[in-house]
Subunit: 230 residues, 2 copies
Amino acid sequence: MRISELSSRSGVSIATIKYYIREGLLPAGRPVAANQADYDEDHLRRLRLVRALVAERGLPVSTAADVLAVLAETGTQNGTDGTDGTDEDGAAGGEGRGVHRVLGRVFGAMDTARDRERAASEAGLTEVRRLVTAMGWRIHPRSAAVPALARALDALDQLGVRIDCRTLLPYARLAERTAEVDLDLLAAAPAGSDLAEHAVLLTVLLDPALLVLRRLAQEHHSAARQPDPT
Amino acid sequence: MRISELSSRSGVSIATIKYYIREGLLPAGRPVAANQADYDEDHLRRLRLVRALVAERGLPVSTAADVLAVLAETGTQNGTDGTDGTDEDGAAGGEGRGVHRVLGRVFGAMDTARDRERAASEAGLTEVRRLVTAMGWRIHPRSAAVPALARALDALDQLGVRIDCRTLLPYARLAERTAEVDLDLLAAAPAGSDLAEHAVLLTVLLDPALLVLRRLAQEHHSAARQPDPT
């Protein structure tokens, strides 16, 4: 299809499509004439994935590129290369191992360069490590999530809201149950689907939906708790 | 203090501080000489709040400005104006009513103009309304959260992942318990603290921390579920 059809079917403007191609988020079309290229269904699908990561999940373009690079390396685009999301040494462990590896690498990619520049405070890191120990979580010592959580606590602390390990515990227990729902959903992925891409969709792209669910629940409960206006 | 000290104490570059002032996120300093202005502790605190909304929470600058405008209207900056976060007709309901109003307006402000442009599908809206009914949630009919959730489902649907009301239910139940923890935490806010600002900190700024907790729990559980590599 022409770029105009790719644009109308995806709802993404031609200028933005060209920008994504320049930034390496989308492969260029197959040249068919001077100043004209042909795009196929794979382009459309990839463009929708880019759009979801950038517009829906709100990732910076460079971060979305890093996440897509992880998916490409783990052999994802259509799952027909026989690896089913396991990476180079994944054959030893099968699918469970493959998903774990992909998630670790995707989460690593999602820490933007800007995030890595800001060091977390020692106090914040200590609270997060206490929480991980209290939950009995087995976390990679260099997991990007540990400083990321510490930085989030630092930001609140600077604004006068002190969130310590004890305050976080009930949230962590609920997060644990949420992760169990996530992994059950992932285990129920239809046969033949691309496991690595499915893992990204159900983790990264479900984030905004879960935040909105919390907003809806907050709206209901703050209304339920308010005194009767009469 | 000079802008250079404001920069070093906040960790925000002078160029970025000037940009925030131009965009109306931060009030200008008090002019003391040609090309020189004086900033105080209120500027520093406000700058940290802007930084948390933009860098930590990832809100677009224009959205952060809308959220700050809601806080300013509800009389927040230091809580000394006697309204304690209740708005014009809040006297009838007291603090619970004030928090509910502020949350509703902040959530409305957080829907960026870009989000509002993209219409949610009827199918997505139907699933969200079914979920709200199934949960027994009392939600404002024009709540921005309803189309926001429908759009998140639409994005997944376009990528071949169908999330319906039944799939969302376990997540909604966990979100409900999370919101209860949120509101308990808010109810325990220290006396004299600014209730509206506190509500924003514990809802909007806790979002990234909760997403990271989910990532940590996913990392632990996907490791726990992977087959033993030996």
